[in-house]
């Protein structure tokens, strides 16, 4: 055997030894197991369940009908017939309706004044007052848009009656000379789940991975006799072997979890899925690598494993906002945009949403993918640096302990 081959084999053996140890640690430690396996399995299901109904239908409203005419009743009927609003109560006056709102029985009030029909037929504008409880955006939207739609439709009906037209086509043109079509694309029903969930899935991926790595590093530290992250034994001598061995372990677990999160869950709950498996693969490889190395860097920087938890749980909600999923990216202040570039999830979520929900091609998200590769590269080297420092610390301490021991022995002798 040549020395070269020997050392080459040795390296691989060492890396695999570390990989095996890490695997054992992961499956022995219930804390790590929760974050690596249980949370990624359960959380998406829970979230999907929460948002599965996608939109709110039949928002209850109260009607105060002081007009009591055919026209006012038509308005109420048409609102009730719409998908989004349900007329739940008829109130005598505004005060009664208000008390219904305060008891959370209804989310809004339609008030039709007594002169409503008279005004309309007298060629004056009939006014309908809409009072919305503004504590929920979606119910406000439903109540307001329904009233708007109904009033426009009734208005068009009144116009055509007034307009002395010959044919129905004439009437249609007079009511609406310029026709328009509104086309919501990529999430046609405007569902809440289809909008927020893809981002959440990708974020869960990163957060659980980082939490899990942090936990396992914390456990390793606490199990170690001298509170060191790295043992001083033979295989843990080389930085690259450690980083390769450990990351291989995490990578194996998260290949499975990644497939579950980005392929199985959206399919189970029928969320939009336009991306092909090739493009998902092209995205997920750099994303997984970036997350793994990012997690390893974080795990070295934080001393107690509980602090990893504090840190990561704390950033998870802001991170979701910084990806631009729930707040438009163009309106995020520059400073926070800069901060968000530190985290792989920012680019991962953006690229995934566009690939998966918007049917973009790989070339459309090439910037994000390149940045993810850059992240993977940078965090890999950073991980090597911090692990190198940990090795240095471990050996430094070991050296001094050895010296102390020698002294004591000399004294004893």
């Amino acid at each position: 055997m040549s020395t070269y081959l020997n050392s080459y084999r040795r390296r691989i053996d060492d890396a695999f030894f570390i990989w095996r140890e890490e695997m054992k640690n992961v499956f022995k430690d219930e804390g790590v197991l929760i974050f690596f396996i249980i949370v990624p399995l359960i959380y998406p299901l829970l979230y999907s369940w929460v948002y599965n109904n996608e939109t709110v239908h039949d928002v209850p409203v109260a009607v105060v009908d002081q007009s009591h005419t055919a026209l006012s009743r038509q308005f109420i009927r048409m609102c009730d017939a719409s998908a989004d609003v349900k007329v739940a109560y008829y109130a005598q006056d505004l005060d009664e309706a208000k008390s219904l709102v305060s008891r959370q029985l209804v989310k809004g009030i339609y008030l039709i004044p007594s002169d409503f029909e008279t005004n309309v037929y007298r060629m004056q504008q009939g006014v309908i007052s809409v009072y919305c409880d503004m504590s929920l955006m979606l119910t406000y939207k439903a109540i307001f848009q329904t009233a708007q739609l109904v009033s426009m439709q009734m208005g068009a009906g009144i116009q055509t009656k007034l307009g002395q037209h010959f044919t129905s086509r004439d009437e249609a043109i007079a009511a609406r000379p310029l026709d328009y079509a509104e086309v919501p694309i990529f999430n046609p029903q405007g569902g809440y789940g289809s909008f927020v969930l893809p981002g959440v899935l990708i974020l869960i991926f990163q957060q659980t991975l980082v939490l899990g790595i942090g936990m396992s590093a914390g456990t390793a530290r606490e199990r170690n006799r001298y509170k060191q992250l790295i043992p001083v034994t033979r295989p843990y001598r080389n930085v690259f072997r450690i980083v390769f061995g450990k990351s291989l372990c995490y990578l194996m677990i998260y290949t499975l979890m990644g497939a579950w999160l980005v392929i199985a869950v959206p399919r189970l709950f029928h969320f939009p899925q336009l991306a092909t498996w090739q493009s998902l693969l092209i995205l997920m490889i750099p994303y997984t690598l970036a997350c793994v190395f990012f997690g390893m860097v974080v795990s070295c920087l934080v001393k107690y494993r509980e602090n990893v938890m504090l840190l990561m749980v704390f950033v998870s909600v802001p991170l979701l906002f910084m990806t631009g999923v729930s707040w438009p990216q163009s309106n995020i202040p520059g400073f926070w945009q800069g901060v968000s570039w530190v985290f792989p999830s920012t680019f991962g979520v953006r690229a995934y949403v566009r690939l998966n929900s918007m049917g973009a091609t790989i070339s459309d998200v090439s910037t994000e993918i390149h940045l993810l590769w850059l992240h993977a590269f940078l965090y890999f080297w950073l991980a090597c640096v911090v692990y190198g420092y940990q090795i240095y610390l471990a050996r430094h301490d070991a050296f001094w302990r050895y010296r102390e021991m020698l002294k004591k022995r000399a004294k004893a002798a």
Partner: protein
Amino acid sequence: MVVFPLLTMVFFTSLMDDGLPTSMPVGVVDLDNTSTSRSLVQRLDAFQMTRVVAHYPSVSEARRDIQENEIYAFLYIPKGTTENLMAGRQPKISFYYSYTTLASGALLMKDLKTISTLGSAAVGQATMRAKGFTDAQIQTFLQPIRLDVHQIANPWISYNSYLSTMLVPGMIMLFIFLISAYSLGTELKFGTSKQWLEKADNRIFVALAGKFLPQTIIWLALVYGYEYYVFYVLHFPHLGSPWMLVLLGLMQVLGAQGFGIFAFGLMPSLRMSMSVCSLWAVLSFSMVGSAFPVMGMDGALQSLSWLFPLRHYYMIYQISVFNGYPLLEAWFHFAALAAFTLLPWLVIRKIKNAMLTYVYIP
């Protein structure tokens, strides 16, 4: 302990400084290219929320730019629109908007719809003027039924006052959960639990009170500081009295501490209780129902949402602070928060037992 919540406050209030997203990028595919279509585009650009950033020669190029996240929506004006409009042949324009971001999608849809309706109305107005009607008559004809919309308590429809009032208290509660479990767990971890109990003459109640009272004061200071900042410096809308805010802050802190201690009592291990607390807290951001309302969820989930302190906090806030209704209307949620405060009572013996006998296993 103090730094993280402060950071969150700054983050959310500065992130949504404008209240509503303004000047969102929008594209235009104007194949008609006449003075009429151009004026339509100019008027669209003048809206507060939209900013026309690009003109495209075809729909597919505009779509690609949506996919590249350059624009959020675009207006398509086909060739011959003006011509058909003049001839009374009812041309059709379309607007496409991406609903992958719900907020921007809904807002842009509103703007684009308004501009299309206005375009329609302008034509009708011109025709009727020519026939000699007065402006009041024209307005009545074009819009026989007018809506008079009252956005109670939040007339600016500011998103900031929605999200910041739920997310930041939620984050603070998350921290209270975690720190409560953490401070009990570390006693075990560093083996100081017996000394801690001895100081209190082995009376667990005194020990707990002594441990958590200083924390309560710090949390209260944080919460009140936040409430003052949000409601009196940033002037978020609130109709309830300041005393209601004080009471709500107190209930929020106590309820969250109660939950944290209870979680530790159930599982007297630092790591497990913290994991449970953090998972519960993160889930409560969805179950609170401020973005997607609880009434839109499945029935089982609606009942489950009662198990989340944040949900009760949010309901009290919404009823008594935001809308200013009397506390009586929110009594159930108030009672629930009080129950969360008393939860540790159930496990207090277990905590004592754990403190005296358990050995920390890493």
